[in-house]
């Protein structure tokens, strides 16, 4: 234990959290631009060139808005809900390897906040907490729409956690490790996992969308059914937290998907060991971000293409479609791997 | 092994029967056939015809004792289903599920009868208890049933918590979950509190098991739960399940408690518990107005007698606990079979039953005599063996005298039912009684008397 390490980690944490906040902010901008593009309109274009300052303006506005806590709500829970949503969103990035490593100030800096050996379980644990944000917010509002939405949201999130977990198991059978760093290392030396696990990726992707409450799985906030859903009563920064958390989640899940299935910070057909460590590290980060942005784009693309599911369709897809599919995937993977091994 | 696996399999079969079988009456028959097969398979198992040969890594140890208890549990359940199976159909449309749960309980019981590791003990207890929580609350619209289920659940999980703490502490003390501890090298010597942890853990274990078998002072949930649960399930809970708790407990005492006898005087502790249990069970039962509640307290009192076996831990105690389980279970199932047919559960509700339903009254009398421990009925030998076991040890003779005095007290409340049936005037209302039901009762009564004259018929199984 040395202070240098703590400082290093603090800096890393600050950078990563700031980065994810910024990316999340600009994801809102991106979202609106993508939507506009798809619907053949312009999107935000007033604040700054190409409307590039729009997210900043939105953020400031939310920040300075009047804070309203309805009298019939439970005050403590009302504040706790969005805080928890934001907190969980910010915690997930702790175990993601953002790149290889850099060598600065005579130190080998690992571009991962915490390299724990059960990283995937950590991700799952933190993501599972996210449902509390929704549930507490909906409950605290003491509003039938909110509560309804929270119930729906909660049951949706937990329902899709099952196939997500099952899909990961097939992946684990191949990699044999719960550490994200190890997984990426294996993909760098070998092939990307997407080649072994296309079905698993598909399931994981669908579940990730549902976990983030992204359309077409945005039932908890279905505007035209539930009037904005679980955060209907919220205003100012608390609403901001909920909205932000959603985008951060999208960002993180893209990062996880990239790590798990698309080689993380690996650049294909490039032998990093020939480059100097710092260059390799930076290339890795860039490649990783590139992959993430592609995923974010896909998320948006899907959102503005597909209509929202009905609740029963959503649940049926989760329970009766994805779970059996994930199980089959798992069994086949296991059998094939064992067969190839012997 | 057969019983353990087949009961789980039959449970699953019954589960699927819930939507595969339309006719609810035939569910009962399927369950009976399943139980019969289970019984045969278990008996075959005891003659070393094991269907499944699985390496359990010493987690389970099958013995004649366990097989015999399994046979008794399964046999009693078979009798129970045959005679009161129809009543099960009255609670909602989940008949098949109730049978499923009963099979799962049996699975837990067969695990308890053969556990050799604290892990399997824990699993057995839980597999046995969790279905019971559901069965207790099966009368969904009835507040009393709700209350009973909640109480039972909370108390049950609480005692599970205690049990786990006990297991964890003993593990800390001995470094193994295995029932038999090979002392010496295993003991982590660097931890000088090891034996302290083990004793503390065993105390926790004992308390939690006392909860499960409703021994005083951990009995307080019993009356409400037994009273609130639908009678037909109370019958199952208070008999077979309770006996299984004792089987688990005696195995624990056989090995773990005996090994630590030097450090703590278990016998003194047990004698206090026994006296408390007998006192609470018997004295409170005297003041009950409802027969069902009386039976609940009487089950506590009977538990007090079964605890004798834990103090003596000799051959007679083992024979005794098995025999007690059989005698008590069968007689109580019979009493409950009559009880569920009554419209009024108070003692007054039984007034004059001998006139309107002589067969019910006569068989019920035999069951009650058996519970009271009158010779010629199975209950006598049950009590006999318990007393004999303790006398054989030559210590704690005062406890034996206390025991028989309380046995005499128990006569008071058992005979109140007989008095109501035979000597009081009244017009008891009963449900429709079929002939097959009557023959069933006569069959049980015959078993009770047969066991009362030739107890050897069961016990020889232990030694053939």
């Amino acid at each position: 234990m040395d202070w240098a390490l703590i400082i290093e980690k603090l800096v890393l944490i600050a950078i990563i959290i700031t980065a994810s906040l910024v990316i999340a902010m600009y994801a809102t901008y991106g979202e609106r631009k993508v939507a506009a593009w798809m619907q053949d309109r312009r999107g935000p274009n007033r604040a700054g060139p190409f409307g590039i300052l729009q997210p900043l303006a939105d953020g400031m506005k939310l920040f300075f808005k009047e804070e309203i806590i309805p009298t019939s709500s439970s005050k403590f829970l009302f504040i706790l809900g969005p805080s928890l949503a934001m907190l969980t969103a910010m915690m997930t990035c702790a175990v993601v390897p953002w790149g290889g490593h850099l060598e600065l100030f005579d130190r080998k800096i690992n571009l991962q906040i915490a390299d724990v050996n059960v990283a995937i379980l950590f991700v799952f644990a933190v993501v599972s907490l996210g449902v509390y944000g929704i549930m507490i917010g909906g409950w605290a509002s003491n509003n039938k729409f909110s509560l309804m939405a929270a119930m729906r949201g909660a049951s949706q999130v937990i329902s899709y956690e099952l196939p997500m977990g099952l899909a990961l198991i097939a992946l684990l059978m191949i990699t044999g490790s719960l550490s994200l760093r190890e997984m990426v290392d294996k993909q760098i030396t070998g092939h990307w996992n997407i080649l072994y696990q296309p079905l698993g990726f598909l399931i994981f992707f669908v579940c990730a969308m549902a976990e983030c409450n992204r359309a077409p799985f945005d039932l908890p906030e279905a505007e035209n059914e539930l009037n904005m859903g679980y955060h209907q009563e919220y205003s100012s920064m608390k609403l901001g937290f909920y909205l932000f958390a959603e985008y951060i989640n999208m960002f993180i899940s893209s990062a996880i998907m990239a790590t798990l299935f698309f080689g993380g910070y690996d650049v294909p057909f490039l032998n990093e060991s020939t480059l100097s460590p710092n260059v390799a590290g930076i290339i890795g980060i860039v490649a990783f971000l590139g992959k993430i942005f592609i995923f974010i784009f896909v998320f948006m693309w899907i959102r503005w293409t597909l209509p929202r599911f009905r609740y029963d369709q959503l649940m049926n897809l989760g329970w009766k479609g994805l779970i059996p599919l994930a199980l089959v995937n798992m069994v086949i993977t296991g059998a094939v791997v064992l067969w190839l091994n012997n | 092994m057969n019983a353990l696996i087949l009961s789980a399999v039959f449970g699953m079969i019954m589960m699927f029967c819930s939507f595969l079988v339309r006719n609810r009456g035939s569910l009962r028959h399927i369950a009976s056939v399943g139980l019969l097969i289970l019984l045969i398979a278990n008996i075959a198992d005891s003659y070393t015809h094991t269907l499944f040969i699985i390496n359990t890594y010493g987690m389970l140890a099958f013995s004649r004792f366990g097989y015999l208890f399994n046979s008794i549990a399964i046999g009693s359940t078979l009798i129970y289903v045959l005679i009161t199976g129809k009543e099960i159909e009255k609670y909602g449309r989940y008949t098949a599920e109730y049978f499923t749960l009963i099979f799962f309980v049996l699975c837990g019981i067969s695990m308890l009868s053969s556990y050799n590791n604290l892990l399997t003990l824990f699993l057995g207890i839980e597999i046995m208890s969790i279905p019971l929580y559901i069965l207790t609350g099966s009368d969904k619209r009835n507040m009393k049933s709700n209350e009973a289920a909640l109480k039972y659940f909370l108390m049950g999980s609480f005692s599970t918590g205690l049990m786990l703490m006990g297991i964890a502490l003993t593990y800390g003390g001995t470094g193994t979950f295995s029932l038999e501890v090979t002392r010496g090298g295993v003991m982590p010597v660097y931890l000088n509190v090891a034996s302290f942890l083990e004793i503390f853990g065993l105390l926790f274990l004992m308390v939690s098991m006392a909860f499960k078998v409703s021994a005083a002072p951990f009995h307080f949930w019993t009356p409400d739960v037994y009273d609130g649960a639908p009678s037909v399930f109370t019958s199952f809970m208070s008999t077979i399940v309770k006996a299984a708790g004792f089987i688990a407990l005696i195995k624990l005492f056989d090995v773990r408690m005996q090994a630590t006898e030097k450090a703590i005087d278990w016998n003194l502790l047990m004698s206090i518990i026994i006296v408390a249990t007998l006192l609470v069970g018997n004295v409170t039962a005297v003041f009950q107005q409802s027969v069902k509640r009386m039976l609940a307290y009487s089950s506590i009192a009977q538990a007090g007698f079964m605890l004798f076996s834990l103090m003596s831990l000799n051959d007679t105690a083992h024979e005794g606990i098995i025999f007690y389980a059989a005698a008590y279970s069968i007689a109580t199932i019979g009493i409950f079979a009559v009880l569920v047919k009554m419209k009024d559960y108070t003692f007054e509700g039984y007034n004059g039953l001998a006139k309107t339903q002589p067969v019910l009254a006569a068989t019920n009398t035999i069951f009650l005599l058996s519970l009271a421990g009158i010779p010629l009925t199975a209950g006598f030998f049950a009590k006999y063996l318990m007393l004999a076991a303790l006398i054989k040890t030559g210590t704690y003779l005062w406890l034996v005298v206390v025991g028989v005095l309380f046995a005499a007290v128990s006569v008071y409340y058992y005979f109140r039912v007989i008095q109501a049936m035979y000597f009081k005037e009244g017009n008891p209302e009963t449900e429709i009684i079929t002939h097959s039901f009557k023959w069933g009762l006569i069959f049980i009564a015959a078993i009770v008397i047969l066991l009362g004259i030739f107890p050897t018929s069961i016990l020889n199984w232990l030694y053939f």
Partner: protein, 479 residues
């Protein structure tokens, strides 16, 4: 085989009687069965089919070493004979009475007989305990269903008393069993057990409480008068005539030879208790206005004397007890028959309402007087021989005990003669105005009893010889 038949005949016929339809069938079947049993018991007494037939032994509970072994020795011959005689007489005496659900009544009576036979025959301690308890169940039902107004509580009291006693005895039996190196319940092996002094005293207490309750001896007697009063008379006859002998029998068979040292240790206490009981019961009997209660208390007094004589540890006293057990049975049954005849006819048992019956029913009066004189042990009646021998024994034990006990004879004369005078002499009351002579059946039964009374009073020798061996065994170890 004979021994087995003594149990099986009443048992099987009892079970059959449960299923008879008409009252007549039940009555005649049970009468027939009881007479058959009597015949068999005669066969047993005189060993008509050879002495080998008098015992039966087979394995029963091999794992604990209990055997189904029964056998007739002198004392059991005598008591089986008493049981055999008592039942036909009771059935005959109540032949005219009608009972509701009579099939159950007669069936239970027969079952009780089977149990009693078993108690007297068993030579295995566990088997003895078995029969001991089984007798109780039919008795409980008989008293509770066909008894008087307060029958339920009273009978229950009786049941609980005896049950507590027998459970304590069970503890004692088990204790003996585990102290027995042979691990057997057999009578003979019990005789060989030698316990330490404290153990022996402990076990003695357990056994004796059971027997004392059954007899009943002084502080344990409180169930008895109520039960005798409330029970149906037919049952009371058996209770007082035969069942109380179970207690005496138990002491002589299972306590004296098995625990001689404890017997010696406790005998003084028990004799004192018995003598107190005799005086107490006699004094209370004097103040009774109820015929049944009077007989009940007089019975306590007599039993007290027998108990004292047993523990006086004298051969002559013991012989007296033997003969008196039989005689008391006969006499008390006779008294109950009279009481029953009066009650069924007049509907009351109170002396204050009776009177002048001698004019209305002279035959009854004569028979009663004979029975009553037997009750106070006048010479030439059977009881004289027994009481004389018992007092003889007590004299040898301690003169003061005998003297104080002797007072009870005087008191017995007082209340018995008082009873005769109030019931049969004086003026007729409103109640007794319509009184008639008793039925022929009852008369025959009473006559038979009176004949027995006088024969045994004049020639008690066979009875003494019959029980001689039991006396020897009982006293052999107690010195």
């Amino acid at each position: 085989m004979i021994a087995l038949l003594l149990i099986l005949i009443p048992l099987i016929s009892g079970l059959i009687t449960f299923f008879t339809k008409s009252e007549r069938d039940a009555k005649s079947l049970s009468l027939f069965a009881s007479i058959l049993t009597l015949a068999v018991s005669f066969a047993g007494v005189y060993s008509l089919f050879g002495a080998a037939q008098n015992a039966y032994d087979t394995t029963w509970l091999s794992f604990i070493g209990a055997r189904f072994s029964i056998g007739l020795d002198g004392m059991s011959k005598m008591l089986c004979l008493l049981t055999g005689i008592a039942f036909p007489i009771v059935f005959g005496a109540v032949y005219g009475n009608t009972y509701k659900k009579s099939n159950s009544f007669y069936a239970l009576m027969l079952l009780m007989q089977a149990g009693l036979m078993g108690v007297f025959l068993a030579t295995d301690c566990l088997l003895f305990y078995f029969f001991w308890e089984i007798v109780l169940i039919p008795a409980y039902f008989l008293c509770s269903i066909w008894g008087g107004e307060k029958r339920i509580t009273v009978t229950f009291k009786f049941f609980v008393y005896t049950f507590v006693g027998s459970l304590l005895m069970l503890v004692g039996i088990l204790y003996m069993y585990f102290k027995n190196p042979e691990h057997s319940f057999a009578l003979q092996s019990f005789y060989h057990i030698r316990l330490s002094a404290t153990d022996e005293n402990f076990v003695f207490c357990l056994f004796f409480i059971a027997f004392a309750i059954k007899m009943p001896v002084f502080p344990f007697h409180t169930w008895q008068p109520d039960t005798y009063e409330q029970a149906p008379t037919a049952v009371t006859m058996i209770l007082s005539g035969v069942m109380v002998k179970m207690g005496l029998f138990g002491v002589i068979r299972w306590v004296l030879p098995v625990m001689p040292n404890a017997t010696a240790h406790f005998s003084q206490l028990i004799i004192i208790l018995s003598v107190i009981g005799m005086l107490y019961a006699s004094l209370i009997a004097i103040r009774q206005d109820d015929l049944k209660r009077l007989i009940a208390y007089s019975s306590i007094a007599h039993i007290g004397l027998m108990c004292a004589a047993i523990f006086s540890n004298q051969q002559i006293g013991m012989q007296g007890v033997m003969i008196q057990m039989f005689n008391h049975g006969i006499n008390v049954i006779g008294l109950w028959i009279v009481a029953d005849a009066i009650e069924t006819q007049l509907g009351t048992r109170k002396f204050s309402e009776l009177g002048g019956l001698a004019q209305k029913a002279p035959a009854l009066a004569i028979l009663l007087v004979v029975m009553a004189l037997a009750n106070i042990a006048l010479p030439l009646t059977n009881a004289f021989v027994g009481e004389f021998m018992m007092f003889n024994g007590l004299f040898r034990y301690n003169i003061w005990v005998a003297v104080i006990g002797g007072i009870s004879i005087i008191l017995a004369a007082v209340y018995t003669l008082n009873m005769i005078q109030k019931t049969f002499y004086g003026n007729t009351s409103i109640v007794t105005d319509g009184a008639m002579e008793i039925s022929t059946g009852t008369k025959i039964m009473l006559v038979i009893l009176v004949v027995v009374v006088i024969i045994l009073g004049v020639y008690p020798e066979p009875m003494l010889q019959l029980t001689n061996d039991a006396v020897q065994t009982a006293l052999a170890t107690v010195k």
